[in-house]
Symmetry: C2
Subunit: 209 residues, 2 copies
DNA sequence: TCTGTAATGTTGCAACTGCAACAATACATA
DNA sequence: TATGTATTGTTGCAGTTGCAACATTACAGA
């Protein structure tokens, strides 16, 4: 997975940040940075420290959706975020740099690492776009069963194995598919009963075709 | 909307294409180019001519989802495509250039327009990612009503107007939301009856809040 | 203007889904 | 290992949704 400053040395990294008139924000542990990061048209970069992306269930059962580490981009483009449902909390002392998207994209300076930076960004966004794309294709199916099967199909093609190891919990998977968890469990049980799949913990084995 | 070769003159455009060992494909009118374009890891570029992205309804009611014009990217990243449901047909004599993604991204040549190219690509993908993101946020809502309201909300914020002019047909809108068209119509009627919205042709007026 | 095609409106119905609530496990960490 | 917390399993139920089928209206090309 490409990171923002891959192949750019530290000196030039800071030079570039200066050219973009990047704003540096420093936080202690446990600060909410949602509003700083999810400004419109802002690219935020986690320079040091670490941040949790948390889902805010109204019943108070929050949970960590993603741990974001150094050199990764956090921005409204990257995460499928609804400010009401999610928030971002630092888990240690953290430095975040925010840049204006237009400043970055319209940079006309001479730093020879700029192209590398843009290439890195392109690669990052591109992978995200592919993942988004994938998820849309799944969510667009009608009915939970079809969503599940579409999801399995993609995992199957990716790993070329009938054994799928879930990269997240079933709770998160229901969220990923955009369906109710209990309804999803019910449908999974039907698929099992009908002999389409078999599950062992977080491993799902496809028995069909 | 940024295009692939924005700010790159024709001479350098072809130089770059050569560096990428790009493959040129020529088609007559009415040829199916789905398989050439939606290869894995391929970026396809419409150099000249025009292509229709068509949705393939099993009942034989195909329809044009998008007309792709010169200098646009056509690739599996850009379009949320399921090969079974969609296909691409040239509508005139058309030249398409395919490049391997890795070749483009790992280019280490000296052409000074390369950075511009990558920047263009970044901008293109970035807008797409934003749109994908938006759609996911809508589709993730439970129930047709919530999807509709989420959609309206986004349009409202975008245009800062309570009047939403649908950029597509209701049939396509149902598809966009990932729900059954008739069920969507039914829900819209309820929203109307309850006084939340008003519709006039493709204009929807929000009456709430 | 006519005509065929696509889009929209509508409805019944069976099946599905979300929701709520609770039980049973699994998991992490003190 | 014990204990609290998160995840998973399960179920009833009402309301929602997808599907199929058909009527009506809008629209574009001859």
């Amino acid at each position: 997975m490409t990171k923002f400053f891959d192949n750019i040395d530290s000196k030039n990294k800071y030079k570039l940040l200066r050219s973009f008139k990047a704003d540096t924000h420093n936080f202690k542990e446990n600060e909410d940075i949602t509003n700083i990061v999810f400004e419109r048209n802002v690219i935020a970069l986690l320079v040091s420290g670490s941040v949790n992306l948390i889902r805010n269930n109204e019943n108070g059962n929050d949970f960590v959706l993603d741990k974001i580490e150094e050199n990764n981009i956090i921005s409204d483009v990257i995460y499928t975020i609804n400010k009401d449902d999610y928030y971002l909390i630092t888990t240690e002392e953290t430095e975040i740099v925010t840049m204006n998207y237009s400043d970055v994209i319209n940079y006309r300076g001479k730093n020879k690492y700029y192209p590398i930076l843009i290439r890195n960004m392109f690669d990052i966004i591109n992978s995200k776009a592919k993942l988004f794309n994938e998820r849309i294709n799944i969510m667009a199916r009608r009915g939970i069963r079809n969503k599940l099967l579409a999801f399995f199909e993609i995992q199957f093609k990716k790993n070329n194995s009938r054994n799928i190891y879930l990269p997240f919990t079933f709770t998160e998977m229901a969220d990923y598919l955009g369906v109710d968890r209990s309804a999803m469990t019910r449908e999974m049980k039907l698929l099992k009963d009908e002999g389409f799949i078999k599950t062992t913990g977080k491993r799902i084995t496809l028995l069909y075709k």
